[in-house]
Amino acid sequence: EAGVVQSPRYKIIEKKQPVAFWCNPISGHNTLYWYRQNLGQGPELLIRYENEEAVDDSQLPKDRFSAERLKGVDSTLKIQPAELGDSAVYLCASSLRGNYNEQFFGPGTRLTVL
């Protein structure tokens, strides 16, 4: 079974440019997460979806970040405009709905903002 797929794997952009990340979760997983992982730190939740509904976006910087999960499957995370401090690895994870179900993480997208 395929795991969580993310693309691109790496992205280098100039500051103030837009950037988008794509995630395809494991088939059948209702819950999808976007995390940001700064160098040497643990992942921090940006947004969590249950199907197509964003149920927790309290940590998403809404002035520049947006996300969508159309049809409750694939998801896109966008940053516009990017800032130097946005350089990080952006991880997507998915799980079945329910209490404490295992999250399966994708390999992440490493973003470098110059």
């Binding site: 969580v4 643990g42 179900n101 295992e102 993480f105």
Partner: protein, 113 residues
């Protein structure tokens, strides 16, 4: 504010040694404590998890010890191998938002042959 504090930041042991990684928390609503293993260029993967109704859980060479009164938990890796070299993260999830995970800052483990 870091909800889960993890130490040490890095750890070097010889093959066969028993590295121990510690985590502490304050939020008494946390009631699920997973540990994740992350290799370079990969996403974290669930290793083992514990609920506070038990004080210890073993899966293969990995053991979680849990001290509810002290609000601390730790990961022990028995008979460590060079293939265990990775970054380990503890995490915690509260009972009022069971799919929200707060991660520690990670411990980079190097097991020398």
């Amino acid at each position: 504010q870091q909800q889960v504090k993890q130490s040490p930041q890095s750890l070097i042991v010889q093959k066969g040694g028993i590295p121990i990684i510690n985590c502490a928390y304050e939020n008494t609503a946390f009631d699920y404590f997973p540990w994740y293993q992350q290799f370079p260029g990969k996403g974290p993967a669930l290793l083992i998890a514990i609920r506070p109704d038990v004080s210890e859980k073993k899966e293969g060479r990995f053991t979680i010890s849990f001290n509810k009164s002290a609000k601390q938990f730790s990961l022990h890796i028995m008979d460590s191998q060079p293939g265990d070299s990775a970054t380990y993260f503890c995490a915690a999830s509260p009972d009022y938002n069971f799919n929200k995970f707060y991660f520690g800052s990670g411990t980079k483990l190097n097991v020398k042959p």
